[in-house]
């Protein structure tokens, strides 16, 4: 695969993958220490999938993600402060502390939610693509979903709807080999999720999910198709998650096979760094990026730690446009 894009774009891909990795490494540590409540599903190992896909999008394109929600917004360009603050449940969090780790969704980056109900992003994506079309905007909507999610009716309905209406949508199945403890083949019929495309009469593409350039190229083609009014594409990125389904759970649920080490040996960031160096980028420049990213992460964590928790009223805001009244008996003990 030939590298694509000019140098700056490629550096940006490297930077975003580093951001995801370092952001999560830090998050995992402080989660273990009890600083982050709830479950934490990390994206480590899958960075090339998210970054490659998002780098093929414009800033104003839409994106819908999943419970494994840290990678997608960073891949799309989100700043780290409000993401980290969200993990800590602070009012400065991107969701004001109401979403948490499964919902790091930055709408200013075109996100329309990172939804923790598996498969539920499918219809939303079709709808966003429809909304763009109806408004005469040449935006596309991209749906990230897992291999496990492909079994949900919602994914089928989203793809069928997008295909029937030739909507500018891209469905990216991040096949990381497992849904929790279940190997893909035990939950998903057929050789490849991408094969489902045939039934909808749309292209079904398989791409090396550890190669950020390859992912970007595949998604870019789908985006061009979508913008040209030719309808959706289904892309399957073959990738791998390093950590267990969620981290710090006490035991590993994932039945690792001998291929585990092979996957670790194809780390998307290591691979990309090597390619960049081979293509003449200096190692020192990349080291400098690593350091900058480390500073960003540290800054984000500082910001998050110094931020306040939401006031109790926040619990009653955003159910509707108008804030709900707080019942007296609840307020009395808040």
């Amino acid at each position: 695969m030939t590298a694509i894009g000019d140098n700056d774009r490629r550096i940006e891909k490297y930077r975003r993958m580093q951001r995801i990795r370092q952001f999560e490494t830090r998050a995992e540590t402080i989660h273990a220490a009890g600083e982050i409540p709830g479950a934490l599903h990390t994206y480590a190992g899958m960075e090339a999938s998210g970054v490659g896909a998002c780098m093929a999008l414009r800033d104003d394109d839409y994106m819908v993600g999943t419970h494994r929600s840290h990678g997608h917004p960073i891949a799309k360009g989100a700043k780290l402060r409000s993401l980290m603050a969200e993990l800590l449940g602070k009012v400065t969090g991107i969701c004001k502390g109401k979403g948490g780790s499964m919902h790091l969704s930055d709408f200013s980056m075109g996100s329309l939610g990172e939804t923790s109900i598996v498969g539920s992003g499918g219809p939303v994506t079709a709808g966003a693509a429809l909304g763009a079309k109806l408004q005469g905007l040449d935006r596309v909507a991209l749906c990230f979903f897992g291999d496990g999610a492909s079994s949900e009716g919602a994914i089928h309905e989203g793809m069928n709807l997008a295909a029937v209406w030739k909507l500018p949508a891209i469905f990216v199945c991040e096949n990381n080999r497992f849904g929790m403890s279940t190997p893909t083949a035990a939950g998903v019929a057929g050789a490849h999720v991408a094969d489902r495309a045939h039934g909808y009469g749309i292209p079904g593409i398989i791409v090396d999910g550890q190669d950020v350039d390859a992912v970007e190229a595949a998604v870019r083609e789908a985006v061009d198709r979508a913008r040209a009014g030719k309808g959706p594409t289904l892309i399957e990125t073959k990738t791998y998650r390093y950590a267990d389904h969620a981290v710090n759970m006490g035991r590993d649920l994932t039945p690792r096979g001998p291929e585990h080490d092979e996957w670790l040996a194809r780390d998307p960031i290591v691979l990309y760094r090597a390619r960049l160096v081979e293509d003449g980028v200096s190692g020192a420049d990349l080291d400098a990026i690593d350091v900058q990213v480390a500073e960003e992460v540290a800054d984000a964590l500082n910001f998050a730690r110094e931020s306040a928790y939401p006031a109790f009223e926040e619990a009653f805001d955003h159910v509707f446009v108008d804030r709900l009244p707080i019942p007296d008996d609840v307020r009395a003990h808040a």
């Binding site: 109401k98 109900i117 539920s120 219809p123 939303v124 079709a126 709808g127 159910v319």
Partner: protein
């Protein structure tokens, strides 16, 4: 003012709001062919882009309404029969009801999900659901359940203009009933405001959707027996106008809650619980519910029809509450 049917009211509300605001569009199964008469001439008038026949895929297109709303559109979804909301339950409860909240206000979801309460006509259990109370238990969804053409039009227009997701439950027993409706293009009824449909002093009947019309007939007959009934129609189930209900019960001291839905955990249960909690001091008698019992709805008309709240059952309840004797049974 013109006298129009409930279905015409739906048609007018949709047409006027689509005319007013190009962000409003409508989709649903077989909507272009205008099955129930609520989209007459829509394709010709608004074009195929804004009047969309969908695949049979409720979770898909109702969820898509959510997505389209998030990017700036104002979708109306016609889900036809309320029973078909079950396949779409996840998009309604997990995405549409919750996205604004989960994302801390980042998401906007101005959309309307319409469906009819299709009971009483031998459509059997899978087509006869009246599931609004299920959605009342899910925060984040506004719910209207109008009982006549006037309210239907005013509430549906308000729903389309509202910036929150609104579910409209449309009672098919009201479809052909006419009432006077203002011509004003800006006639809207604010969500959350109930109405006293008839004043009375002895007993309050709070009725939902089509049951309002039955309650009004029962009230008329009870008048002849010397019982004065006040009929309150909440019109909107979320937000529920608890004040108008409590005010009435505080006046009459007696309450009957009439609801075409199944009894357990119904809107009637909620209203009864509210009365028992907040108007207890005024109560002079038990709070009674007149509902469909907790059985499914059978096909055979002979056994289906007696299951719904009826004029007779409301009259019995009212007599019991005021301590009036039941009328002598007529010799057969």
């Amino acid at each position: 003012m013109a006298k129009i049917t409930y279905l015409e009211a739906i048609y007018q509300a949709q047409a006027e709001e689509m005319e007013r605001d190009s962000k409003v569009f409508i989709m649903g199964e077989d909507i272009r062919c205008n099955v129930f008469g609520t989209t007459t001439g829509f394709v010709e008038r608004f074009g195929e882009e804004r009047v969309r026949d969908t695949p049979i895929s409720e979770n898909g297109f109702i969820g898509a309404a959510g997505g389209a709303a998030m990017v700036g559109m104002r979708p109306i979804v016609d889900a036809t029969i309320s029973s078909f909301l079950f396949p779409a339950m996840d998009q309604i409860c997990s995405i549409i009801a919750k996205s604004r909240y989960i994302y801390g206000g980042q998401a906007q979801l101005p959309l309307v999900i319409r469906s009819c309460l299709f009971y009483g006509n031998s459509n059997a259990a899978q087509h006869s659901d009246r599931p609004y109370s299920m959605f009342m238990n899910m925060p984040g969804l506004k719910i209207i359940a109008p009982s006549n053409a006037h309210d239907m039009k005013g509430l549906l227009k308000a729903a389309i203009r509202d910036n929150d997701p609104v579910m409209s439950f449309e009672d098919s027993t009201c479809w052909m009933v006419k009432s006077e409706v203002p011509d004003d293009l800006d006639f809207v009824i604010p969500l959350g405001k109930g109405e006293v449909k008839r004043e009375g002093t002895d007993v309050t009947v709070v009725a939902i959707a089509g049951a309002v019309n039955i309650a009004l007939k029962a009230a008329e007959k009870l008048k002849a027996e010397g019982i004065s009934v006040e009929v309150v129609d909440p019109r909107t189930l979320v937000p529920l106008d608890r004040d108008i209900i409590l005010r009435s019960v505080r006046k009459t001291g007696r309450a009957i809650c009439v609801d075409p839905a199944h009894k357990t955990c119904s809107a009637a249960s909620e209203i009864a619980a509210t009365i028992a909690e907040e108007a207890f001091e005024a109560l002079r008698a038990p709070v009674v519910r007149v509902t469909t019992p907790d059985t499914h709805l059978p096909f055979s008309p002979h056994i289906e029809k007696p299951l719904y709240p009826s004029i007779e059952r409301i009259m019995d309840a009212a007599r019991r509450l005021v301590g009036a004797p039941a009328p002598q049974p007529q010799p057969a």
